[in-house]
């Protein structure tokens, strides 16, 4: 692990340039530019708010804000996973031509999506806090370490998915379906307290739900996440990162032959 980190630090210019490349390609030649990155979450917020607040009548105050807190990080998570499946297979031309630590590719993919999350948060978070008039509690500062933990967890899963896709191209399609299903099984549009007690325990042990619960805790409810949720997050992040990295390193020397 230490050697991998050292090697990647030597190639940080590469990771940076790969992220910059994606950003430039996304915004160059598009008139509305950055607006496109904001339009998608905005529309989702509007549609879900109408559906769940006004039609299904979920009794949560400041529902749009509650939704935002879980939805934006989820968008980052799900689009990272979908994009990362192609991180290796989509860059065959690079992998066959030059050696560099292959981890740079999935990491750059996830960081690019993360930059989109930071942008969306920077616009929507202050806007919704102002509009809804919620008072931010001090626990809001915990949002930053939570985001970083989420980033590491996602990178770990990206390692796993991108490796699996090299050997089974189905994984890319499977991931696209899975993230849609997982979205509805994660307490983002509904508070976890609406679920039956047994299911609540399951939520608190599952990493995807635990991230959503923790975000809502620190930003919406203004409380420190309970120990069970916090340890779920830490445990799963370490497991994903270590497991993903080991799996990736075991197979990355053969990527040039398989892609």
């Amino acid at each position: 692990m230490a050697t991998v980190i050292g090697e990647l630090l030597g190639y940080r210019a590469l990771i940076r340039n790969l992220v910059l490349k994606d950003l430039k390609l996304k915004y160059r030649d598009s008139v509305l530019g950055l607006v496109w990155s904001l339009l998608n979450p905005l529309l989702m917020l509007v549609v879900y708010t109408v559906a769940f607040k006004f039609i299904l009548r979920i009794e949560t105050e400041n529902y749009a804000y509650f939704l935002l807190v879980g939805l934006l990080p989820w968008n980052f998570f799900s689009s990272s996973l979908v994009a990362s499946t192609h991180a290796i297979t989509g860059n065959a031309n690079l992998i066959k031509k030059v050696y560099f630590p292959r981890e740079a590719l999935p990491i750059a993919t996830v960081l690019f999506t993360f930059s989109q999350l930071v942008l969306a948060l920077a616009v929507f978070l202050p806007a919704l806090v102002l509009v809804s008039g919620v008072r931010l509690h001090w626990t809001a500062v915990l949002f930053v370490p939570l985001l970083l933990l989420h980033l590491l967890f996602t990178i770990g899963l990206a390692f796993i998915l991108t490796t699996c896709t090299v050997f089974f191209r189905d994984v890319a399609h499977l991931t696209e379906v899975a993230v849609v299903l997982l979205f509805w099984m994660t307490p983002i549009i509904y508070p976890v307290t609406m679920a039956p007690a047994k299911l609540q325990l399951f939520f608190k042990l599952s990493p995807l739900a635990a991230f959503a619960i923790a975000y809502q805790d620190v930003l919406f409810w203004g409380r420190v996440p309970e120990e069970l949720v916090a340890s779920t997050l830490l445990g799963w992040t370490i497991a994903a990162l270590l497991g993903g990295q080991v799996l990736f390193r075991r197979h990355s020397p053969t990527f040039a032959e398989e892609v």
Binding site: Y11, A13, K96, F100, D170
Partner: protein, 252 residues
């Protein structure tokens, strides 16, 4: 004597997949229909190569198509891992298997320079230091701010080659790329490579141009069907290769 590269008994087998089962459907069908099962065949691209390259040496690799030259280069560059044997490489290697590795057509020449050099492990500061030289050598002038997709083939090649010869690695691996560009630029590239060599860079050159091999190299290796057939003085090895071709090797 210091060695830049040492290969001991290096062999490389590729697995050829007939009916490749990169998806689950084919795997599942294969369970019931043996005829559709993925069939694996080993293909030995290199067999028992023993080769050591001195630091600062210029080594030429020649041989017919499919003789394993590019595979050997990729093993030296750590892109492939040998199936058997041992590889020791001392120093930073820059493989140039293609001109313009990592170029994206929608990025400008400048952006592509930074992207491409970082693929070879250069930091931003290291690229800053050689950026002007790269642009000057490529003769692109103001076109450096234009998207690469608008370049002519010649411009593209000049930029790609210019990056490769300014990376200043300890070991530079060059695969066939000299065959491109016009006569004048080819000569310029050869000059530049001689200059690079004088500074102590180890050069390994794959080429079908016997003239280039004889002009540039201290030593040449002839690869045939993955085996090291001859090795030594470039003129003699080239002669041997010519004889072999005139006899009419089935591979050609």
């Amino acid at each position: 004597m210091t060695w830049a590269i040492e290969l001991k008994g290096v062999s490389k087998a590729f697995v050829l997949r007939h009916n490749p089962a990169h998806n689950l459907k084919v795997r599942l069908i294969g369970v019931f229909h043996p005829r559709h099962r993925e069939q694996l065949e080993e293909f030995w691209a290199l067999r028992e190569i023993d080769l050591a390259v001195r630091r600062g040496e210029c080594l030429g690799l020649i041989g017919p198509n499919g003789s394993g030259k590019s595979t050997l280069l990729r093993i030296m560059a750590s892109i492939f891992r040998p199936t058997e044997g041992e590889v020791v490489v001392r120093g930073r290697v820059a493989p140039m298997i293609e001109v313009g590795v990592g170029f994206h057509p929608d990025l400008t020449g400048q952006e592509n320079i930074y992207l491409s050099t970082s693929l070879y492990g250069l930091s931003r500061r290291e690229t800053d230091a050689i950026y002007r030289q790269i642009v000057a050598f490529s003769e692109l002038g103001e076109f450096i701010d234009v998207s690469v997709k608008n370049y002519s083939t010649g411009m593209y090649v000049r930029l790609g080659f210019s990056i490769a010869v300014h990376l200043e690695p300890d070991i530079l691996l060059i695969d066939e790329v000299l065959a491109v560009g016009d006569e004048r630029f080819q000569q310029k590239c050869l000059h530049r490579m001689e200059e690079v060599r004088r500074r102590g860079t180890t050069l390994i050159l794959v080429s079908h141009s016997m003239q280039t091999i004889e002009r540039m190299c201290d030593r040449a290796c002839l690869l045939v069907r993955g085996r090291l057939e001859a090795e030594g003085d470039p003129t003699k090895v080239v002669e041997r290769y010519r004889e072999m071709l005139s006899v009419g090797d089935p591979l050609e």
